[in-house]
Amino acid sequence: MAGESTSSESAGVDTAERTDGAMAHERPNASRTFRTIVGRELRTVARTRTVFLLGLALTAIVLGITWVGGGYQAGYLPTTVDLLTPLELLVPIVAVAFGYRAILDDERRGELDVLATYPVSPREIVLGVYAGRAIGLAVAIAIPLAVVAAAIALTGDTTVGVYATHEGADSPILFGRFVVLTLLFALVVLAVAIAISSVVSGARGALALSVVALVVLLVGLDLALVYGLAEGLIGDADLLNALAVSPLSAYRGLVLETTVVVAGGTGPQVASPIASLIGLAVWGLGSLAVAVWGVGR
């Protein structure tokens, strides 16, 4: 990681300062451009102190929830269950914080205009910015969850010694699934934030649109599903697939389906994994497409 950021830094200097040299060369190959932009984003993330604060706060909250819910003694699956709803709410907020000004700042500082003089396409800019921020966001989310997993693994269990015990359906694999799905969810919301940052023209607008997006994501879409169900717009047979429309519901369904249901047994199906994955992919890729359009404008 350290080596990577050093090399990115020199690459960043390349882009920012040796404009004349770059002009003289052939169009640089696509992967090099991409790495350059990613490196620049990572440096931005690393330099922003509030990002660390955000990471620390998230770690504290996740550990706190695990403690309140008795997760350390209970195991991986109960902790997953305890963390699911809080993370549904927190992950979008963190993701939006990571991304809502990413492209806007470039635009306001005129860097986009500078970049426009290079043979770099809006698609490369967006993907580069997104990948850079995504790495930072993934680290900020994965670390607290890794700490929790370590705490569960290390703290002694509270079983009564005279009896034979076993793990049942509990397993670190289930928690691993939860971590992967949470990261996927975060990356999708980050894409939405990047899209917002590419279409607004000022910081105030970015903040306002971000709040609107959060309200829609956190509350609006799920309420719309409830409304649709109540009014008969969504048939009982369609609900499983309709859930994929809301990234929160898609994420929740995937977590329940791949972790809790494994230990629970029978009952109505909680989610359609394929539909949920498609839903998340549409939100992610669609948002990035919007961002590309916004940058190209």
């Binding site: 929830i65 309140v68 819910g69 008795g70 003694q73 209970a74 195991g75 699956l77 109960p78 269950v81 305890d82 699911l84 709803t85 809080p86 709410l89 269990d157 509270t158 079983t159 009564v160 005279v162 009896y163 034979a164 015990t165 076993h166 793990e167 049942g168 359906a169 509990d170 397993s171 694999i173 289930l174 691993g176 699934r177 992967v180 791949t258 809790v260 494994v262 230990a263 629970g264 047994g265 029978t266």
Partner: protein
């Protein structure tokens, strides 16, 4: 990336090796039956690894598991079975003994249930009834069926069969019948009251003992007013009736009145002056050649000195009698249908000199209207299956009513006050006891049901240390009022198989607590309990969220200002959202998913001083005591 995808492809089910059965958390056999079994007997057993329960669960009898899996809430509490192992009798040359219990040559191993063959409907049985006999090998199973009857079933076919034995709801349905049985015992004893007077002491005989020796059987000896310094032995069916204030005073040695005849009756007497030996010596009085596993207990407990000792005598009656005890008050041993009514036992001055007020040893009968105070065990029962103790008053003893190896008993309508250890203490894992309509106050622990399929209902357990200490399995605990205790109810059994519903918890410091074991869900069939403090923001008379008496915030709702506000924090709601979903993996806690708004038992509550605390859930500003 591949690793991330791999997490979703890999199967998390682990195959576990069978555990030694003694290490499992087991059920399905009363301790009495377990102790009484010949060592050569090898009962069929099952051990089950559940997806959500971290202890291996052992079942005596494969059918015990099959029955358990059908009970409501079983899968919610345990998850589904990951693996089931059953006793494998293949290659053990299994045979049935005189009781039809299986006996194997050597130690049977374990077979995976899915690969096993089961002989269903054979002669084989366990102390609990008919049993299924498993084999890993089809030929061995066929050979067994040829010898002992029954048909061969594979696991999937066996799962289709229905297995039912009396559960705690059957115990509930039995209560009224059992009261009628008690009424009948009492009615049958009328004949002893109505025996004609044949002898009057002082007129026809000089002493009571002389009268006993002379009187014809099945007649009454009348004892006029006065104090009699005598030690009596009754070996024929006679009624001895005190006429006025009659005191029979022993010489401080042995038992004052010893009866060994069926249908002996003692009416209207005051008895004092027994010896103070708490333990006895062989031979015990009476006609008795049984040599059981509890022989030693029998000599030690039932052989001690007492005011009245009735041994190997059926259908005896003790009524309107007062005993001043020096060791035990009344001992009844090996007796069918004894009736003890309206008797009072004053315990020795020093409680440590006491054995028991009324001690019933292999003596299932009726104790009603008894009063026992200031002793060790007020009413003690050992292996008196079907005993009925009702409408009695015990106060200031160590234990109020103490059951050892006693199943199918009914303890009803007793008034139990100020016991230093426990009001009602059921020990040694018996089955199907009914504990109903009792009022227990100011005990260190109010009521301790243990064993299997107990029915605990309509009791008021008030102002004590711990109200209910739940050590039982498969039991129904309903319609009790638990109020004013330090801890209302404490579930200590590791197997989450009890149904605790429709009880009212009011004014306890903490309404409920739990020991080792999983999260217990005290909600069944849509009904929960009433918890003072559980509150609602809805106006429709329902509580809109779960109540967990073991949660740091919920347990303070009824007594700490501000707790109701904190309990509504979205963060707490977010964590609680899925709490009920994997109960088996959580530890040491209790939750009620559907707490009720109003008390379930207003009539019972009204008789206590806690009624005005039982505010309904929509009273948004509770008024904790000031």
């Amino acid at each position: 990336m591949a690793a991330a995808i791999g997490l979703f492809v890999v199967d998390v089910d682990t195959t576990a090796e069978p555990a030694p059965f003694d290490d499992t958390v087991s059920m399905g056999l009363a301790m009495e039956d377990e102790i009484g079994l010949d060592e050569a007997v090898d009962l069929p057993r099952a051990q089950v690894f559940y997806s959500q329960y971290q202890y291996v669960v052992g079942y005596y009898g494969v059918e015990t598991f099959l029955e358990a899996r059908e009970t409501a809430g079983h899968q919610q509490q345990f998850g589904y079975p990951l693996s089931v192992y059953v006793t494998d009798y293949a290659g053990t040359d299994v045979d049935l003994d005189a009781d039809d219990y299986p006996r194997a040559d050597g130690d049977p191993g374990w077979a995976d249930a899915e690969d096993a063959w089961f002989v269903y409907g054979s002669d084989a049985s366990t102390p609990s009834g008919d049993t299924v006999v498993p084999f890993s090998d089809r030929d061995a199973a066929e050979a067994f069926a040829d010898a002992h009857g029954g048909e061969l079933l594979a696991w999937t076919d066996l799962l289709e069969q229905s297995f039912e034995s009396d559960d705690s709801t059957a115990v509930r349905d039995r209560v009224d019948d059992q009261h009628r049985v008690a009424d009948q015992y009492v009615a049958d004893s009328d004949a002893l009251r109505d025996r004609p007077v044949s002898t009057v002491v002082g007129e026809d005989a000089d002493t009571i003992q002389a009268a006993i020796d002379e009187a014809p059987s099945n007649t009454t000896i009348e004892v006029p007013d006065g104090e009699y310094n005598e030690t009596l032995e009754i070996d024929r069916p006679l009624t001895i009736r005190g006429d006025g204030n009659v005191t029979i005073s022993g010489d401080g040695n042995g038992t004052v009145i010893t009866g060994t005849a069926d249908r002996t009756a003692l009416l209207g007497l005051e008895v004092t002056g027994s010896g103070s030996e708490r333990t006895g010596e062989e031979p015990l009085p009476g006609d008795d050649d049984e040599d059981d596993w509890d022989q030693e207990f029998e000599v030690n407990y039932a052989g001690g000195d007492a005011g009245i000792g009735l041994h190997t005598a059926d259908e005896v009656l003790v009524e309107d009698v007062t005993v001043h005890s020096s060791a035990s008050g009344i001992i009844v041993r090996r007796s069918d249908a004894p009736v003890i009514r309206n008797t009072t036992v004053h315990s020795p001055e020093r409680a440590e000199d006491d054995q028991a007020g009324i001690l019933l040893f292999h003596a299932p009968g009726v104790v009603e209207g008894a009063t026992v105070s200031d002793g060790r065990d007020a009413i003690y029962s050992h292996r008196s299956h079907g005993l009925i103790v009702r409408d009695s008053h015990v106060e200031g003893n160590r234990l109020g009513i103490h059951l050892m190896h006693t199943s199918d008993a009914l303890l009803a309508g007793n008034d139990i006050r100020s016991q230093t250890i426990a009001g009602i203490f059921v020990m040694t894992g018996p089955e199907r006891n009914a504990l109903v309509d009792n009022e227990i106050r100011d005990a260190e622990v109010g009521l301790i049901p243990s064993g299997d399929n107990a029915y605990v209902a309509n009791n008021s357990i008030l102002d004590g240390g711990t109200g209910l200490q739940i050590d039982s399995t498969n039991s129904l605990i309903e319609h009790n009022v638990v109020a004013g205790n330090e801890v209302g109810a404490n579930e200590r059994e590791m197997l989450p198989t009890n149904r605790v519903v429709r009880n009212d918890f009011v004014g306890n410091d903490v309404h409920a607590d739990a020991g080792s074991g999983p999260l217990r869900i005290w909600t069944h069939g849509g009904s929960g309990n009433y918890w003072q403090g559980a509150m609602s923001l809805e106006s429709d008379g329902t509580v809109d969220r779960a109540y967990s008496p073991t949660s740091p915030v919920d347990q303070r709702l009824h007594r700490t200002d501000g707790a109701p506000t904190l309990s509504r924090a979205p963060a707490l709601d977010a964590i609680l959202g899925f709490q009920g979903s994997v109960p088996g993996m959580r530890t040491g806690s209790v939750t009620d998913l559907q707490p009720s708004c109003e008390p379930h038992n207003p009539d019972l509550l009204e008789q206590t001083e806690w009624n005005d605390r039982a505010w309904s859930c929509d009273r948004t500003t509770p008024t904790p005591e000031t």
